[in-house]
Symmetry: C2
Subunit: 314 residues, 2 copies
């Protein structure tokens, strides 16, 4: 049987919510809450990682009674150094499979909201279960500009040699938000790198249209299922019918112009990278393609793609 | 100090979330969970209402130990009759101030999702803390069609004799979703009643663009603070520059064409009906007016206006 949209969303927003019965067994029993030095929850750390953190008593205070890990370092600079050293050491000791995807790129954790609290290697963020951020851009030709009068969406296939989700379908442009990088700035830069679109072309056409937020949990090759609360800033990019996006950085194998029905079919056949499908669903909802009349899970789709976290965010 | 967008949202999505410390004191201590006959949570009933329900032992099973009210009637027809009789009796006995706003209009409660479980008088829904549904339509002229090149929004002022929020600003068209009424059907009908727009004008222009969901709690004249989880289906209606909406049913005093900045100013001065402001904020986010660059609470705004309920929905 073909997947429903809600099946697809629930595979990505797969962590139980506080107050649900499964929250105790699936979340609390398998992890410790990660606290800032001033006691604010900022992530979820699985017990296998907590065992390693116990070896760092100068930096972290671990309580088995309250199942919490509190960072005791109270300056940004010292925290940045701590996480840089720790991630590199764990990588060199080959402790966790997730670090095989080392990116040499820093992500920022916030506390309180909007204030950088520390930076951490992108591949190591999931070990601490902290919120990470990306941008996704849906490139489309609206029906009134389309040659056959039907809305079209530019869909790339990920390069077959990518570390994650090789060969799967994706959004026209997507990328992670690095430490101290602006959101719109990253979106514009990625349009150049991933689709060969110039700053002049993109700037007047790029429209911020919201975020999706979901709480993912992914099992890595060593069997560790790490917590990954994620925020994706969403942009619509209305393309001219004669503009062809060009892969330039090797991350994309090819671009295809697809109708809404073709996207739906590919999505339900699980050809899309999972969180990418959520962005397409969000696009379909905002563009009157998925409607209250044709979708029984309309409300749940919007709620599960805008999930509240218990942690401060950017 | 002028309100932030998040201040405005939080006044409407004002009930603590499960897992937050305030959930126990503000929600659990002041109310009982309302269960379907098959044990599914469908609402929140404040203790003063529970005292009245205890007088109906043939219809409800009340447990003080588990702080729950379970309806024991297992057919739709019998439940419909029960709630019709109970609401009318409580109204005639003048038990609750909320029933002074009697509408003689039925709302539907769902269990499981999408399946009608019972119908209840609109004014009585809050006594059971069940989810209610409405439609909101933002009528706007996009910048490329606007005479001065700036996006404009049609904003009505509510009639000064309305029972609720008289004289406040509102969305162009809004209305409750009555029992067995379609969503799009209601949207089209309300466009005629509230703005004098024909079916022929509205049908090709009306675009479904999502829902907002929030958990409101309102204190009535008798001091009871009732739980009101609400879903509003949102539509954008792109208007032609020469179309002037006309109040026809007496619910609207006047329509004004406002710029985005004028709407923001009025919203922050608290001139909008509270949940209406949430719809305008959602519109601003979807139309690149509120952006990640100009709004520090961007993520929280989207999460708080798409709140997950613990109850089945339409």
């Amino acid at each position: 049987m073909s997947a429903t949209y809600l099946d697809i969303v629930k595979e990505t927003d797969c962590v139980p919510y506080p107050g649900q019965a499964a929250y105790a067994t699936e979340v609390e029993d398998s992890s410790y809450i990660f606290l800032s030095h001033d006691g604010v929850p900022i992530g979820r750390i699985v017990t296998a990682v907590v065992q390693q953190i116990k070896k760092e008593p100068d930096s972290f205070e671990v309580s088995d009674a309250s199942r919490s890990v509190r960072i005791v370092i109270d300056t940004l600079e010292a925290r940045n150094k701590l996480f840089a050293d720790l991630a590199l050491r764990w990588k060199n000791e080959n402790l966790f499979a997730v670090l095989l995807g080392w990116r040499d790129e820093l992500y920022t954790v916030y506390n309180p909201t909007t204030v950088p609290y520390f930076a951490v290697e992108r591949a190591a963020a999931a070990l601490f279960g902290v919120v990470t951020y990306g941008i996704h851009i849906v490139g489309y030709i609206p029906s009134h500009k389309s040659k056959d009068g039907e809305l079209k969406i530019w869909v790339p296939r990920r390069a077959y040699n990518k570390a994650t989700f090789p060969g799967m379908l994706d959004n026209m442009v997507a990328g992670g938000l690095g430490n101290s990088c602006g959101i719109l700035e990253t979106a514009i830069k990625e349009c150049g790198e991933e689709a060969g679109l110039s700053v002049e072309y993109v700037t007047p056409r790029l429209k911020a249209v919201g975020v999706i937020t979901y709480f993912y949990r992914h099992t890595y090759e060593d069997g560790l299922a790490l917590f990954q609360p994620e925020v994706e800033y969403i942009y619509d990019l209305e393309m001219e019918p004669d503009t062809i996006p060009q892969p330039t950085d090797g991350e994309v194998a090819e671009f295809t112009l697809m109708s809404g029905q073709e996207v739906v079919k590919a999505m339900k056949a699980r050809e899309f990278k999972p969180n990418t499908a959520l962005v397409q669903i969000d696009f379909f909802i905002r563009h009157n393609i998925i409607t209250p009349e044709n979708e029984p899970d309309y409300i749940a789709l919007l709620q599960s793609t805008h999930r509240r976290f218990e942690y401060p965010t950017r």
